[in-house]
């Protein structure tokens, strides 16, 4: 009798095989999905990393170019060049007798150049790379949970 009951509830072998195949396929698809996401994220990260490197190189090149342009501009505006240009245009250096001084209210003498702001008005810049580019998923998750908990804690207070 006991033997008969077991036999009555036992699944057919092809069903068991099908379940195993299904389970295997589920694991396989799940694994492939995870691998796909990982691959996509890695690809994105690599592309972004390469782009950042290029941008950094470009920035370096631009900084060099800016310094060069500044010097070229100074060369074009140098004392000697300006004097020659002025003479070509028919000007001559002013002499003391040419000057006429007129008092003009509100006009003060020439101020010394300010090429950068004074110390008091400075605000520090943020870092170039945002944390999102360097944090792992775990870091993001941990931080999000922490922020959530902190904000809830704040609400309670």
């Amino acid at each position: 009798m006991n033997q008969r009951i077991i036999q009555a509830y036992r699944q057919a072998p092809w069903r068991v095989q099908l379940q195993w195949i299904g389970l295997f396929l589920l694991v396989l698809v799940g694994g492939m999905l995870i691998a796909g996401v990982y691959l996509y994220v890695s690809g994105q990260a690599a592309e972004t990393g390469a782009r950042i490197k290029n941008l950094e190189l470009e920035r370096e090149g631009l900084a060099i170019r800016i310094a060069d342009m500044r010097t070229q501009l100074a060369l074009l505006n140098s004392s000697q060049v300006m004097l020659e240009r002025a003479e070509k245009l028919g000007f001559r250096p002013v002499e003391r007798d040419d000057l006429v001084f007129l008092p003009v209210a509100g006009v003060s003498s020439r101020e010394v150049v300010f090429l950068a702001p004074p110390p008091a008005s400075i605000q520090r810049e943020n870092k170039l790379l945002r944390p999102a580019y360097t944090q792992s998923l775990w870091d993001v998750l941990y931080q999000s949970v922490y922020q959530l908990v902190s904000s809830r804690g704040g609400q309670h207070q």
Partner: protein
């Protein structure tokens, strides 16, 4: 049947053994020392890049923001031999454009094919940007050209160029003696030499930094932002500097002098507005330094060359005596043409006797005998105390590298003799630099306050501009003494109708003529000087002129005073100082 099972088991055993051997080998390789070293080497060679980042050297500006020293883009050109497609094209084009040796370049371009050389080969450094534009043009042409049916196509693949900066001085020789220079050809160990470049080298250079960057693009790492070196804003006015250099050049030429120095200072702040000395030097070609400044010559005479200043020194003697109450402007003195000091007779410049004088007359006629008497009236203790207060024998502390000083001999020193009191009173037997003299005498134009001379007015570091405040060295004489001396020297110039006078502006000043000592005593050659300031009622400038060994005339009043006048003629225009009359009208309500 049994044979079949046996064979199957044998094959199974072989596969199991093979698998086990593979697993064993994997474990062995993973854990071996060689493997660890190999991994480290790969990580070092291919996974990371070590870069030394040299920050941009700070700029130097004049007081209005005109660039005096900046940076220029140049390129390093090199070859990666394994990547070279066509060595002949590479060698031919690089030889033509960069003017390098064809065969040497060809050898480097072929070195991978012939010797397996994988190292980067430097072809030329400090290549100007226009040459690189020519190479870029060629690259573009080769990309558009049709490929030949036989042989390698013309190509510059494998040639790399990378920009970097070198120091550049857009004004060329202008203010070079103040700026100094930077030996940019030593790319990794370059440093500022002389002048501001040396004095502020650390500030200008910034901090080099070595960074290790991962080559794996997924390992993103921010290149640390290395701030450029600090920039300097100097007190130099480019236009005044240019004018003063032109004036001193003309004066040296016209008077057949060996050298000339002209310094313009704001007496109220100690700011140097111009510092012109000869000979000139182009810091863009700093390797020619030795040609222009042979051994024993001076890069910046204004701060480095010691000389006996002569009668301009009388300003200090008279100021000390009046301040101490030893004499007054109207104190009478009968000049008999000679005076004995310490057993030695001292004479006037013309060996003449000028009869009854007051102190204004003594200064006007620059009487050595009178000033030696004044120093005696003051006494050595007081006299030398004042000289020390005026900074004689001490560094002024000007922010330029290369300042020299000659110690002042004091009573009690082995090299001091009683006659020194007499000779020192008119600027002989004492050695100073022009910067010492102008700093000391500027106190007369600033109510007795001696200001520290300086060239840097502000500096910019990390994007912030910091102002350098003027510094008072000391109140060396009372304000009324300074004003009295100024008035005395203004009157004396007017009385003698000096060549230094400038129409419309009241000026105070003093000539100086000092004999130059040689191996057998004093020679016929002189140092001719003039120091003057103005406008007298509100001094805006003090000018120091020194011509070394003029041949047209030995006298300061003949050769240096007109140079001063010419300098002031231009200064009042460039500094927009109205004539006294107009200025006083504008000041009155």
């Amino acid at each position: 049947m049994n044979g079949g099972i046996w064979r199957m088991r044998l094959i199974g055993a072989v596969f199991v053994m093979l698998s086990a051997a593979i697993v064993y080998q994997m474990i062995r390789i993973q854990n071996s020392e060689h493997s660890r070293q190999l991994v480290e080497m790969f990580a070092k060679t291919y996974n990371q890049q070590v870069r030394i980042i040299i920050p941009e050297r700070g700029n130097i500006y004049d007081r209005w923001g005109n660039l005096l020293a900046g940076n220029k883009e140049v390129y390093e050109v090199g070859i990666a031999p394994p990547q070279v497609v066509n060595p002949e094209t590479v060698a031919r084009d690089l030889a033509a454009v960069l003017e390098v040796d064809y065969y040497d370049t060809l050898r480097k371009a072929e070195s991978y094919r012939k010797e397996g050389n994988e190292r980067y080969e430097l072809i030329k450094d400090f290549v100007p940007a226009d040459k690189i534009r020519q190479l870029e043009q060629k690259v573009s042409e080769y990309q558009q050209a049709e490929k030949p049916k036989k042989g390698a196509p013309p190509s510059l693949v494998g040639v790399y160029w990378r920009p970097h900066l070198i120091r550049s001085y857009p004004e060329n020789e202008l203010a070079a003696n103040v700026l100094g220079f930077y030996n940019y050809l030593d790319r990794w160990n370059g440093r500022g030499m002389l002048g501001l470049e040396e004095q502020y080298n650390n500030l200008l250079a910034g901090n080099k930094q070595q960074v290790i960057l991962p080559m794996n693009p997924t390992e993103i790492q921010e290149i640390p932002e290395i701030p450029p070196g600090a920039s300097l804003i100097t007190s130099i006015d480019r236009d005044i500097q240019a004018a003063m250099e032109r004036i001193i050049d003309e004066a040296v030429e016209a008077n057949g002098a060996e050298s000339g120095t002209l310094v313009v200072m704001d007496p109220k702040t100690g700011e140097i507005l111009a510092m012109a000395t000869t000979p000139h030097f182009n810091p863009n070609e700093y390797w020619r330094y030795g040609e222009i400044f042979p051994v024993g010559s001076y890069f910046n005479r204004a701060i480095s060359q010691l000389y006996e200043p002569g009668s301009v020194f009388k300003v200090l003697t008279m100021a000390a005596a009046i301040d101490a109450g030893a004499v007054q402007p109207d104190t009478p003195f009968v000049d008999v043409g000679a005076i004995e000091v310490g057993g030695i007779w001292i004479y006037n410049w013309d060996r003449g006797a000028w009869g009854p004088q007051d102190m204004v007359g003594c200064m006007q006629h620059s009487l050595n005998v009178c000033l030696a008497w004044v120093a005696q009236e003051l006494g050595p203790t007081q006299f030398y105390k004042y000289l020390q207060d005026f900074g004689i024998g001490r560094y002024t502390g000007i922010d330029l590298a290369g300042e020299q000083v000659y110690p002042l001999s004091l009573p009690g020193d082995s090299n001091w003799y009683p006659v020194n009191l007499g000779t020192n009173s008119f600027g002989q037997g004492v050695a100073t630099t022009p910067i010492q003299m102008i700093t000391a005498i500027a106190a007369m134009a600033n109510d007795g306050k001696m200001m520290a001379p300086h060239v840097v007015k502000a500096y910019i570091q990390d994007g912030v501009q910091y102002t350098v405040n003027p510094r008072v060295i000391r109140q060396v004489v009372k304000p009324e003494t300074a004003r009295t001396i100024t008035e005395m020297l203004a009157v004396s110039l007017e009385n003698e109708a000096s060549n230094a006078l400038v129409e419309g502006y009241r000026i105070a000043g003093k000539t100086g003529t000092a004999e130059i000592p040689g191996p057998g005593g004093y020679t016929n050659m002189t140092n001719a000087s003039f120091v003057g300031w103005g406008p007298v009622d509100d001094p805006r400038f003090i000018v120091y002129v020194w011509l070394e060994k003029p041949t047209s005339s030995p006298w300061g009043s003949v050769v240096a005073a007109p140079v001063f006048s010419q300098a002031v003629e231009e200064l009042v225009v460039l500094m927009k100082i109205p004539p006294d009359e107009i200025r006083q009208q504008m000041a009155s309500p």
